[in-house]
């Protein structure tokens, strides 16, 4: 077995050292009636690298890769070009096979990277402090809700109807067990987000208002107005962002008054990966809330010789110290995805991020204008970044499946996202990034013309 260095001679010599006469003696504490006498039946035996690679390649070929089709899916996971050097760096063994940096003297590489990452995220979000990452955007969203309850000591949560339905579902699921009360709705297919309706649901029992920006339909809610209304009632504004590239083009949530900003960082550096692993981003506008934050934090300090260095800090919030009194049970972050994000963001820099955002927006505008010309199609949004909603006058799920059969991955139907909501079923969410060509847009438009005719 190529991964196991012990030889039979080693095993004999080592067994002798342990005083055991056979390997079974080392498992003596396992009651005899449950000990397995040999390899579990009905499962294959070990296989060569070549055989395993062949098997996995066969499975991978049963999937249609995004690069092999005109591709327009978003809804919380975006396809962007990731520079080759990102993947090279995250495969360096010193990053790939390191553990959580609990021994900071021999983990400065990971720690300095996390400090840089935290700063990049905080700046992107317009916040004072970001943590070292969470599992993904949806779990970060729930953690933010739980944090708001701790800060305000209230338990009524107002969710925007235009929050990603999976995120809303995670919050609802967790709230069933923590007894937080959730007020939410489904979005109406209107060109502008319903800020008035959202604000009317905030009262003096509200711990937080959760708003997605850009929202699930691709619209851009004015956050300042919601922040003011929330703050008037003593509630916090949590803003969820699932497309960080957008923040290269639009105002940050922090500068519009968001108290906690969370999001999905996958779009930068991480790739699609069928939904995971992704990268939860978590930041607070005001550093006074730091001690209520979940997750790992990396901070600057000095070593015994006065040299600058970095450590994990404020761990008295965390489960390994506080156990049942911890701010969260989270024990890991999404370290390697944070590295990918940070490397990609360093390659982009401010200039590159803005250029990338501009290119995304330019192509999305071209796509919206082209699709608006397809008979039977109307574009819902007045404002958007790189994703918008079109209405096609019939069940979009069926149309998406039909177009996929023709080799076009047309977008995400609102019927898939909001099952059972008939009023939304003719909605199709179309995302356009720098990886989309104008030819792809033309292909989608023609294909839609064919199906809708």
């Amino acid at each position: 077995m190529r991964y196991l260095p012990l030889t039979d001679a080693d095993r004999s010599a080592m067994l002798e050292k342990t005083g055991a006469s056979s390997i079974d003696d080392l498992f003596v504490d396992v009651p005899e009636e449950v000990r397995l006498g040999g390899p579990i039946e009905g499962l294959p035996m070990h296989a060569s690298e070549m055989a395993v690679e062949k098997h996995m390649r066969r499975l991978s070929k049963k999937n249609l890769a995004a690069a092999d089709a005109p591709f327009f899916l978003g809804a919380g996971a975006y396809r962007h070009h990731v520079p080759a050097s990102v993947d090279h760096i995250i495969q360096r063994g010193e990053f790939l096979t390191a553990y959580t940096p609990y021994q900071p003297e021999i983990a400065q590489g990971t720690l300095q990277m996390l400090f840089e990452f935290q700063t990049q995220v905080a700046r992107l979000y317009g916040c004072a402090v970001a943590n070292a990452s969470m599992y993904d955007g949806s779990t970060a969203c729930w953690e933010a809700v739980a944090m708001a309850a701790r800060i305000t000591k209230r338990d009524r949560v107002v969710l925007s109807g235009a929050l990603h339905p999976h995120y809303a579902e995670v919050v609802r699921t967790m709230a069933k067990f923590t007894e937080d009360e959730i007020a939410g709705a489904h979005p109406a297919l209107q060109s502008e987000p319903d800020n008035g309706g959202l604000i009317s649901r905030i009262d003096d029992k509200t711990s937080c208002v959760v708003v997605q920006y850009p929202d699930i339909l691709g619209r851009l809610p004015n956050l300042q107005e919601i922040a003011n209304a929330a703050h008037d009632k003593g509630a916090l504004l949590i803003v969820v962002n699932t497309e960080p590239v957008a923040l290269g083009a639009v105002k940050s949530p922090g500068e519009q008054g968001a108290d906690i900003v969370v999001g999905e960082g996958q779009a930068i550096g991480v790739g699609l990966q069928f939904g995971g692993p992704y990268l939860g981003l978590f930041a607070v506008r005001d550093a006074k809330h730091v001690r209520q934050m979940p997750g790992r934090l990396c901070g600057e300090t000095v070593d015994a010789e006065g040299k600058r260095g970095f450590v994990l800090t404020l761990s008295t919030r965390e489960q390994h110290i506080r156990r049942e009194k911890a701010t969260s049970n989270i024990c890991t972050n999404s370290g390697l995805c944070a590295l990918a994000f940070s490397v990609h963001m360093t390659l982009l820099g401010e200039k590159g991020l803005r250029a990338l955002a501009t290119e995304n927006h330019r192509l999305a505008c071209i796509a919206a204008d082209r699709l608006a010309k397809v008979p039977g199609v109307s574009v819902l949004n007045d404002a958007f970044f790189n994703e918008f909603t079109i209405r096609i006058g019939q069940d979009a799920r069926a149309v998406v499946r039909k177009l996929a059969d023709d080799g076009v991955l047309a977008g995400v139907s609102l019927g898939r996202l909001f099952p059972g909501k008939d009023a939304l079923s003719d909605g199709l969410l179309v995302a356009v990034t720098e990886t989309t060509s104008e030819e792809d847009i033309e292909t989608l438009a023609s294909a839609l013309e064919g199906v809708l005719a």
Binding site: E94, G349, G352
Partner: protein, 558 residues
């Protein structure tokens, strides 16, 4: 490093007649291959980028059909409304060569499995096979969107289902929830299944029992799920006190969370009796599967009466730890808990097709294929789980097969026992008397000279070229040192590690004060964690240098 063979040659030993001398300070702060590196904020600026934006460039050779000229940006009016960003962000950029160099230099300040034995107890720092990485990057897995029509992702669903099948078979359980993102997220999943099952019976309960030796995530998880946490006492063998546990069980106890093998490195002999007692009292048994590596292929948790157990794919099944995640924590479930598993899930029907069951069709699917029994407690995360970890874990599992996985457990346990018996004459091994250990060996600080601690030993071990073991955990042993060598270490590597550990232990017992200053040879000396917590500095707060005028830090990167 790989350990030397019998020749006894040591690469760092000076040839006789030469004295090793430490040199003078350097002007750069570097010491040859030990390279200092500033922050990106100190070397980058907002006008530099490592990405070119000629997106629609025409690369085709003459004679090949050319793509159309792109629509010029000025012909496309912005649709950002009133929210266009006009303030600077403050993000530094570097060109590609500068970026690669920055991160390569940083990487060299990390210890990693690829550099040497990483004996971190309870973390299972085994070799991460590179075939896993290659497979995870196949475009059919890496470049697939989670919401693509299912007919375009049949292979991905088959991977999930094939891995699920292996996990169920290896644990002897009934079902598995694949979506939890990490071990602690899996714990939460399991506890929520227990809560949902109890509530479905109209039997809401308040208490979860957790041993004192448990990972901190266990009580934190139970509390997060709304339960009150009470301790289960241990006996002098380092195992759960069965009689005390039985005495505490009652109608208010929802369940127990037990780690098996436990955090003292011991198999809970009474696990079946514990499960039977908990079940008789109407509760459920959660098993923390962090230490599954010790028993995979040797015993199935399902045969021990376990109702739910998370499996850390990043431990037992070799997906990389990545400097702190991403993890992956599927939860295997008993027949009693399986119906409550979160959405989405995959299921293979009689026709061989693997279905992805989401909110949309959950009720119908349950009616059609499970007699209406599936009553999911909800959703734990967007999308379907850590697909990138599923491909790696399945690759690892297929490489080993049923026979190889059994050998993994045997070698892991043998390696740990070899370490235990090679050190017990010197280091205090509190449970060495109670029989063989499983995959990790536990020691305490008894016998250390006044003023020297486990921390000092750990830092001295860094100077010897090792990552320290887990320290001060479990809490039940004073100055605990938990050593988990894993099965991917050779005997020679273990012998060298044992020699190093014996040496630092002897120094600790002899009162070698120089250990207090260790590490001496790492990229940093001991870091001031008190200052970091007292005055938290969690983001770089300076102004970026103007374009082309990068500055260097006065400290560290001098």
């Amino acid at each position: 490093m790989n350990a030397p063979n019998k020749s006894g040659w040591k690469p760092g030993t000076p040839v006789e007649g030469h004295n090793a001398v430490s040199g003078p300070d350097t002007v750069t702060g570097n010491r040859a291959l030990m390279l200092e590196e500033p922050l990106i904020f100190e070397i980058g600026n907002t006008e530099t980028t490592g990405v070119d934006f000629g997106f629609a460039a025409r690369l085709d050779l003459a004679g090949v059909e050319q793509p159309a000229e792109p629509t010029p940006a000025e012909d496309v009016p912005s649709r950002l409304g009133t929210l266009a960003r006009n303030e600077p962000i403050g993000l530094p950029g570097l060109t590609e060569p500068e970026t690669v160099r920055h991160y390569t230099r940083l990487s060299r300040q990390n210890y990693a499995i690829d550099l040497g034995l990483f004996p971190l107890g309870s973390c299972t720092m085994k070799h991460n096979p590179r075939l896993n990485e290659k497979v995870a990057r196949m475009p059919g897995f890496a470049d697939v969107h989670p919401l693509q029509p299912v007919d375009t992702v049949r292979g991905a669903l088959e991977v999930m289902n094939e891995l699920a099948h292996w996990l169920i078979k290896l644990t002897g359980m009934h079902g598995v929830a694949m979506s939890p993102k990490a071990g602690a997220h899996g714990e939460l999943c399991g506890i929520l299944c227990i809560r949902a099952a109890l509530e479905a019976k109209g039997d809401a309960r308040e208490v979860i029992l957790v041993p004192e030796s448990a990972h901190g995530t266990n009580p934190a998880t139970a509390a997060f799920a709304g339960y009150r946490v009470e301790d289960i006492p241990a006996n002098s063998d380092g195992r759960v006190d069965l009689e005390a546990l039985k005495a505490r069980l009652g109608p208010d106890v929802a369940g127990v969370m037990i780690t098996n093998p436990n955090t003292c490195g011991l198999f809970e002999r009474d696990m079946k009796a514990i499960s039977d007692a908990v079940h008789a009292a109407g509760g459920y048994v959660y098993c923390d599967g962090a230490n599954f590596n010790a028993i995979v292929g040797r015993v199935r948790p399902g045969d021990l009466g376990v109702d739910a157990m998370h499996i850390n794919l990043h431990k037992t099944f070799s997906t990389p730890h990545g400097g702190g995640g991403p993890g992956s924590g599927p939860v295997v479930l008993s027949e009693a808990l399986s119906p409550f598993a979160p959405l989405p899930y995959t299921a293979r029907t009689a026709d061989g097709v693997v279905h992805l069951v989401e909110e949309e069709d959950a009720d119908n699917f349950s009616e059609e294929h499970f007699g209406g029994k599936m009553r999911s407690f909800g959703r734990m995360t967007a999308f379907h789980g850590q697909m990138g970890m599923f491909t790696r874990a399945l690759t690892y599992i297929l490489s080993h097969g049923a026979d190889g996985l059994r050998q993994v457990a045997e070698d892991a346990v043998l390696n740990a026992n070899y370490v235990l018996r090679s050190l017990e004459d010197l280091l205090h091994a509190p449970f060495a008397h109670s029989g063989p250990c499983m995959h990790e060996a536990l020691f305490g600080d008894k016998g250390f000279a006044e003023g020297l601690s486990t921390l000092d030993l750990a830092k001295a071990l860094i100077d010897e070229g090792y990552h320290p073991m887990t320290m001060y955990f479990p809490l039940v042993v004073h100055g605990a040192m938990l050593v988990e060598p894993t099965e991917t270490e050779s005997k020679a590597a273990l012998d060298q590690f044992i020699m190093a550990l014996r040496s630092v232990a002897e120094r600790a017992m002899a009162g070698d004060e120089s250990m207090k200053g260790a590490p001496h040879y790492a990229p940093r000396r001991r870091l001031d964690e008190t200052q970091a917590a007292r005055k938290p500095l969690l983001a770089w707060e300076g102004e970026l240098a103007p374009s082309g005028r990068a500055v260097r830090s006065e400290v560290g990167g001098r």
